[in-house]
């Protein structure tokens, strides 16, 4: 399994799987295309996934590496991959835990952010908390705020507005700048969201509730 005998001081486990879950092995093309560094390790896990032990201390940087590699694979072979990234680990004994984290990142991310190609375990705290809420209760909580047809309220514009406001730490001027709309337009949209949901996203408490409900995947 190991490509050399030296282990990196800090590393993350990346678990790659084909987006369509095909069982065809992609270890060799990935090995051919990945710009591996000296201490990187690549192996199959026997369940259709390829694991990479990637030296590095920043999960964000490793996520970017994974994304670039996914793009390369897609462009060169047409195969679309998804990746889950573990927390940083400092010894080979921790790699099994890292493996589990990478798989969990893939699974949780697949449910909450199905379109995102790379899922980072360290960024999924909220999602993992939400997962603990029983589906029936999630459905009921969402219905309380968004009604029986959440997609009528959670339009692309509403989601973009809420995301931008949260990204800007509820600062209206910054959010408006980020969205390239006039501050009045943002205020107008927030008033509309308040009318539709009863939540005023300018107020921290309401913003937290909205963020939490927004995170919940739509129950089938």
């Amino acid at each position: 399994m190991a490509e050399n005998n030296r282990f990196p001081e800090a590393s993350c486990i990346i678990a790659f799987r084909p987006e369509d879950n095909t069982s065809q092995s992609f270890l060799q093309p990935l090995r051919d295309l990945a710009p591996l560094e000296e201490n990187d390790i690549l192996a199959e896990d026997g369940a259709g996934r390829v694991l990479m032990i990637k030296a590095g201390e920043e999960p964000e940087e490793i996520a970017e590496f994974a994304l670039a590699l996914i793009d390369t694979m897609q462009g060169e072979t047409g195969l679309r991959l998804k990746a889950g990234i573990s927390d940083v680990h400092h010894a080979p004994e921790e790699w099994p835990a890292g493996y589990r984290e990478a798989l969990e990142a893939l699974q949780v991310g697949g449910r909450f952010h199905p379109k995102a190609p790379v899922q980072v375990y360290a960024h999924q705290m909220l999602e993992r908390m939400v997962e603990q809420i029983p589906p029936e209760l999630r459905r009921s909580l969402r219905a309380q705020v968004f009604g029986e047809h959440p997609s009528d309220i959670l339009t692309e514009e509403t989601l973009e507005t809420a995301e931008s406001l949260f990204e800007a730490d509820l600062n209206l001027s910054d959010a408006a700048r980020q969205m390239f709309v006039h501050r009045n337009t943002l205020t107008y949209r927030l008033d509309r969201i308040k009318r539709e949901t009863g939540l005023d996203l300018r107020v921290f408490r309401d913003a937290v509730i909205f963020r939490l409900l927004m995170t919940m995947p739509e129950e089938k």
Binding site: L33, P35, G75, E76, G78, E156, F180
Partner: protein, 373 residues
């Protein structure tokens, strides 16, 4: 450089889900085609079929004269720019741009020549030794473009390349990509959900909805002569205002009535109706925000098409002002784009005039235009 021809292309997923239906389009060499539509309309799937990343269920795809349905992505002589613009963080800009060529075993000198030339075009020559971490969002996007340029492909494919950038940078990069197209003189196929991007960059736009092409035309023609209500609403920001109206004859005139409002439709407009039997029926009337006026001179000019409205919100944009208005017989707001010196204020009742030469009419059932060009 090459033409691209999509002939009766279908994408059908398992479970008989049709993502793209009977897509036909001939893209000329050096053309800048933009596929636009809401998410799920099939635009990215179409692009991915051109790239070879998605199998074509039915139909024929030609790049140049060559049928490429079964040609692997790497052998199609195309380069794709994704929205992620992901770069390898441990590599320099030079190595990131050169990476694809190294995979193809391109000679070192040739790689150097191509990377340096692309860097010059993109004005990133001074960044070649930097790592991605030290780059701004715009610079990273340029490197991603550079990675595609060095491949010297026949066709460039762009899949929402600007959607991860902030709004200001998006505007700047729009211009950059247009300039790049002029400079490279290569066929560009570009996917976006942003109609402004489509309008500002394309030589022709393909508007899609539910996997079906709605209209293919130049930006100006799409704007002026939308073929249906969807295109009319999708192209233009703020979007076209729609009114459910009843057309009726009153003496010599044909009027459009909604709520307590009544406007006279000019004879010249009636003359463009595909079928006069629409008079007496309910249709959908559309008017763009810039064709609604609150100034005295326009109220006088279009005195037969004025309506009373309540001003709910005003947005001062500097070069123009948006008025959000309400009136009887119209669900939701009417949006007007007026002169920034407008004195209309939120909470007031005003009169507005509709430029009747600029009215659009659509069949209520089919949603298709009922006007000839």
């Amino acid at each position: 450089m090459a033409s691209v021809s999509l002939q009766h292309i279908y994408k059908i997923y398992t479970g008989n889900v049709t993502a793209v239906s009977d897509f036909c389009l001939d893209i000329a060499d050096k053309e800048f085609i933009v596929l636009v539509g809401p998410s799920g309309c099939g635009k990215s799937t179409t692009l991915r079929m051109v790239a070879g990343l998605e199998e074509i269920s039915d139909g024929e795809l030609y790049i140049g004269d060559k049928l490429v349905n079964d040609v692997a992505p790497k052998d199609r002589d195309i380069a794709m720019v994704f929205q992620n613009y992901a770069l390898y963080p441990h590599m320099t800009v030079y190595d990131n741009m050169a990476f694809g060529l190294k995979l193809r075993k391109t000679p070192k000198d040739e790689i150097k020549r191509r990377v340096e030339e692309a860097a010059k075009i993109l004005d990133i020559a001074h960044l070649l030794n930097r790592k991605p971490k030290a780059l701004s969002g715009g610079q990273r996007q340029r490197v991603a473009l550079g990675r595609a340029i060095v491949r010297e492909p026949k066709v460039f494919l762009f899949d929402e390349p600007l959607s991860n950038l902030d709004a200001k940078l998006r505007v700047a990069m729009r211009t950059e990509i247009t300039k790049l197209h002029q400079r490279l003189q290569t066929t560009f196929i570009y996917v976006t959900h942003d109609q402004t991007e489509a309008m500002t960059m394309a030589s022709r736009i393909v508007v899609m909805k539910d996997g079906v092409v709605q209209q293919v035309d130049t930006p100006q023609n799409l704007y002026d002569y939308p073929t249906n209500e969807f295109v009319a609403g999708f192209i233009g920001s703020p979007q076209m205002n729609f009114f459910d109206v009843k057309l009726a004859r009153e003496g010599q005139d044909v009027v459009a009535k909604f709520g307590n409002n009544k406007i006279i439709v000019p004879a010249a407009k009636i003359g463009k109706f595909t079928d006069e039997s629409y008079i007496g029926k309910e249709v959908v009337m559309g008017i763009r925000p810039e064709n609604i006026h609150d100034s005295e001179d326009k109220l006088a000019e279009f005195s037969t098409a004025t309506i009373d409205v309540d001003v709910e919100v005003t947005e001062l944009m500097g070069s123009e002002t948006y008025l959000y208005l309400s009136t009887t017989g119209k669900e939701g707001n009417i949006v007007a784009r007026v002169d920034p010196r407008s004195t209309s204020r939120a909470g007031s009742k005003i009169k507005i005039a509709l430029d009747t030469n600029r009215l659009h009419f659509f069949d209520k059932e089919t949603e298709k235009t009922i006007l000839n060009k």
